[in-house]
């Protein structure tokens, strides 16, 4: 058990979160009547805050623990998980993120109500909040594992401490708080990753990674050292993960809440240039760490889950271990914060305010959002240990969002038909359930086809056919071309 390490990491997180919360709370008194101050930072966040928040929101437990483990089996090709998220961020910055900011909405379901009516808003609210909550439970599991590795505690206690830190990350000032903490954590993250890679190389023979290359070459596994791996990995894993992430993440509340908070559309466009590399290159460091740990006999015998974290604690000087683990924890905490803020905002705006209290003030709605964050986080902590492994669950959860992406693209740019929307989302969601929980894939002899492919295929086919047949209106931006061209 490494108590000093744990105390140092917790002190860093508490000081950073506390300092920013106090600063923002003082400032907040002047801005408390701003439009959606808590949920969207008053729609006034600058590039310096949007960049790290975009990058860190889709960089969580799977990027760290998942890539450590995946690189053990498939080598550098595991990088495609990180690259898929970077590609999704690019899609957000050139399309869905701009659309969400332009329409001046607070949630994705609210955006869909403008295209398809109330029924679709409620259906998507429930499903999207559920899918993002699912990711929150997995992030909580990740927090539990990271803290348990450091301390020797059980995962449940680690998840509880992580959950408390995660709630503190967001509860004081909402989106603004998450954004500013992310700015500091992103800087810390890259400094510590670069230093850690340097120190690990110094600890290897020849002071570089040549011994790691030799290890894999001697086993005739040179393909482990390139992100292009083997043709089979490219076709099954790489393409599968790119499809699952690129066709789901850009439509999720999780990431669009960030662009809705931006000062302007130009802020979102500018953020592209830094957010994409900041997010995408993170995986390079975790893969190098994972591959190195496997090549060293003393860590190899610990297996895929423990080798890399143990190597970091043993090979790095204590001050750098504290920095690196703090930054890993921060990456997971930032995703925890956004995955709790996202469904909480959907609950307060699309369910509570829309259905039960349409005249609720901004301050009252923010209170409901805060309450929902605490309830969601508490449930996530309670169920975190009885969940499937992080990487097995994420593609299934993301597949729920693929039909929503279709509704957004079709309704804004092509044709908005209420009946088609209902049929399309129902078909997409049904096939996701059947693919996982019935022998359908087996009957079709397609067990190796991931959920994302099946959901995407059904969504596109049903979406196109029903849009052509069912009555509907022109796409929102085709009908409102002046709005489409406005605001930079």
């Amino acid at each position: 058990m490494n108590t000093t390490l744990l105390i140092a990491v917790v002190i860093y997180e508490v000081l950073l979160i506390g300092g920013i919360a106090i600063w923002l709370t003082r400032q907040g008194k002047e801005h408390e009547n701003e439009d959606v101050a808590f949920e969207l930072g008053g729609r006034n966040l600058p590039v310096s805050v949007i960049v790290p928040t975009l990058a860190l929101t889709v960089l969580g437990a799977a990027h760290i623990l998942g890539i450590f483990e995946m690189s053990w089996f498939m080598g550098a090709a595991a990088m495609w998980f990180g690259l898929a998220n970077a590609m999704a961020l690019a899609v957000v910055c050139v399309s869905t993120g701009l659309w969400a900011r332009r329409m001046g909405v607070t949630t994705v379901p609210e955006m869909l109500e403008q295209l398809y009516g109330e029924g679709v808003r409620i259906a998507v609210s429930c499903t999207m909040a559920g899918a993002i909550f699912g990711i929150l439970t997995l992030e909580t599991q990740g927090l539990g594992i990271i803290l348990a590795t450091m301390t020797g505690w059980d995962i449940q206690s680690g998840a509880l401490l992580g959950g408390i830190l995660g709630v503190l990350y967001v509860i004081f000032a909402g989106m603004k708080e998450v954004g500013w903490i992310n700015l500091f954590n992103a800087i810390l993250m890259y400094i510590s990753l670069i230093l850690a890679t340097y120190f690990i190389a110094q600890g290897l023979p020849n002071d570089d990674f040549s011994s790691v290359t030799q290890y894999y070459s001697s086993l005739d596994q040179a393909q482990m050292l390139t992100i292009f791996g083997s043709a089979e990995i490219m076709l099954t894993f790489a393409l599968g993960i790119v499809v699952a992430v690129v066709f789901s993440v850009p439509a999720s509340q999780l990431i669009l809440q960030v662009t809705m908070s931006a000062k302007s559309e130009a802020t979102v466009k500018k953020s592209l240039w830094l957010a994409v590399p900041l997010n995408g290159l993170f995986g390079v460091f975790t893969i190098v760490i994972g591959l190195t740990a496997k090549s060293l006999p003393e860590f190899n015998e610990l297996g895929p889950k423990l080798a890399a974290p143990s190597m970091l604690i043993e090979m790095l000087p204590p001050w750098l271990s504290v920095m690196l683990i703090s930054s890993f924890l921060a990456a997971v905490l930032s995703t925890f914060a956004m995955t709790s803020l996202g469904p909480a905002t959907i609950f307060s705006n699309d369910i509570y305010k829309r259905l039960y209290n349409p005249n609720a003030s901004e301050t009252h709605t923010a209170k409901i959002t805060r309450l929902a964050i605490i309830v969601l986080a508490a449930i996530a902590v309670a169920v975190a240990t009885s969940l499937p492994p992080i990487l097995a669950a994420i593609p299934w959860l993301l597949s729920w969002l693929i039909p929503v992406m279709w509704l957004m693209i079709a309704g804004l740019l092509w044709r908005a038909s209420n009946i088609s929307a209902i049929i399309t989302i129902s078909s997409g969601w049904l096939i996701n359930m059947l693919w996982s929980f019935s022998p359908l894939a087996q009957w079709l002899n397609m067990e190796k086809i991931p959920n994302a492919y099946a959901v995407l295929a059904v969504t596109v086919v049903v979406g196109i056919v029903t849009s052509l047949i069912c009555p509907g209106n022109k796409g929102y931006f085709r009908e409102n071309s002046t709005t489409a061209n406005a605001t930079n």
């Binding site: 550098a76 992100i227 190098v288």
Partner: protein, 33 residues
């Protein structure tokens, strides 16, 4: 090893950014019409 993986990842990210840049240019052109 580090630089190979870094270079390959940078290549993919670079291609993503170039495509995004072209998409933004196309949008700007369309909007200015």
């Amino acid at each position: 090893m580090f630089w190979t993986i870094f270079g390959e990842a940078s290549l993919i990210i670079g291609i993503t950014l170039v495509i995004s840049f072209l998409a933004l240019q196309l949008q700007n052109k369309k909007d200015s019409k």
